[in-house]
């Protein structure tokens, strides 16, 4: 296969059946491997879409520096797109992001501004919003970008329907909400009965330790009414099922994948009672960026402690 640019490799990710992870009779579980994107995560889709949207609107011009709050994946994806398009890129990154993410950003030539790790992604968002007042910067802002949602509507959702038009349920991790909103809307337009369910991380108390409720944050692109369910998953379950995915199906995915599998199994039970069918699980990234947590190699208590020290979601 020949391609004119690495950007042509974004999207069109494979859907693989994982029968050993789905014990419910009459239900088939499939995983969409977003780790197959060029920088190893689903964020390549939105990075490309957001940069193109900025260019199209005229807000992103050659002298601007692209600035974005990110726990890593979006930053790495934007750094790649920025390189191919000739922009400078600055990532606002919590200081407890995994070392692989920091190293990759540096390899792509991104500048890194650190935000307080204890404040999680909220801290990065708040700092980036302050910095973005400087006119030298252009901030795509994934939490509020309609291009984020569109990338999953035009890409992820359409691809799922092309491959598996009979799909009955879709499970993905909740971060900005872009995947769930974009792909979810596309799926529900095809068949309003398709269930769209979110997996979200149970984070450390420190992340929730906001001074007041007004500091709470709901991404502007997130519409809770589009979802049919939302389940919170602990780091421990996420690690255990990420390991199972590797042990039983040979699939090496990032730690949030385990959370998605865990939630999909519960969805499978309900779907089994309801006539059965096919579930698609979106696995947001590959496992490479989490090797330093020893999630696959350490004894579970140690692995859990080490995963919780980094931003694992």
């Amino acid at each position: 296969m020949k391609y004119k640019s690495v950007l042509d490799l974004v999207g069109n990710t494979p859907l693989v059946e994982v029968p050993s992870l789905c014990p419910t009779p009459g239900v088939r579980m499939w995983v969409k491997l977003e780790g197959q994107n060029p920088t190893g995560s689903t964020k390549d889709r939105i990075a490309l879409a957001m940069v193109e949207a900025g260019e199209a609107s005229g807000e992103l011009t050659k002298e601007k520096i692209i600035l974005e709050p990110t726990s890593g994946n979006t930053g790495i994806a934007l750094a790649m797109v920025a390189k191919t398009r000739g922009y400078r890129f600055t990532a606002v990154l919590p200081d407890n992001a995994s070392s692989e993410r920091t190293s990759l950003l540096e390899a792509f030539g991104a500048e890194i501004i650190s935000s307080e790790g204890a404040k999680g992604s909220n801290g990065a968002v708040a700092l980036a919003q302050k910095l973005a007042a400087d006119p030298r910067y252009y901030m795509p802002f994934q939490y509020g970008s309609q291009a984020n949602v569109e990338a999953h509507y035009q890409g992820t959702g359409r691809e799922i329907l092309d491959d598996l038009p009979e799909v009955k349920a879709f499970v993905a991790g909740l971060g900005t909400g872009g995947t769930l909103m974009g792909a979810g809307r596309r799926l529900k337009e095809h068949d309003p009965g398709i269930k769209v369910v979110a997996a979200e991380p149970a984070l450390g108390q420190s992340v929730y330790g906001l001074r007041s409720l007004e500091e709470g944050y709901v991404p502007p692109i997130f519409d809770p009414d589009l979802l049919d369910g939302k389940v919170m998953v602990k780091a421990r379950e996420s690690i255990l099922w990420t390991r199972e995915l590797l042990q039983k199906e040979g699939i090496f995915a990032g730690i949030s994948a385990g959370a998605v599998i865990w939630v999909a199994q519960r969805v499978a039970e309900r779907l089994g009672d309801d006539g059965g069918g096919d579930i698609v699980c979106l696995l947001a990234d590959g496992g490479w960026k989490y090797l330093s947590t020893e999630a696959w190699t350490e004894e579970i208590d140690t692995a859990e402690a080490q995963v919780e020290e980094v931003l694992w979601w």
């Binding site: 909220n122 900005t176 939302k230």
Partner: protein
């Protein structure tokens, strides 16, 4: 046996510092009534004055968001854990 309600740090100033409070089973709504009777300052924090869940608050029965169950009518039985958590920006982002 009762139901344990986990209180986030941001609300502990209303519960005398307590991070976990035991209440009687019922519905999510009846749990909040018990909590607000015991800790009047909590009134208006988790629920808006018209009785709906605050936009920036998520309530989980065990690990499922009650918004997608039966909301305030969600049944809570002995041994369940209810967690109240403020919304935060997700990661993977």
């Amino acid at each position: 046996m009762a139901v344990e309600v986990r209180i986030p740090t941001v609300f502990r100033k209303f519960t005398g510092g307590s991070g976990a409070v035991e209440v009687q089973p019922g519905t999510v709504g009846s749990l909040f009534e018990q909590l607000e009777t015991r800790y009047p300052d909590l009134r208006g924090q988790v629920r808006t004055p018209d009785g709906q869940l605050h936009r920036f608050v998520n309530v989980y029965v065990n690990d499922e968001d009650a918004r997608y169950l039966e909301k305030l009518e969600t049944k809570v039985t002995e041994g369940d854990t209810v967690s109240i958590l403020p919304s935060v920006a997700g990661g993977q982002a």
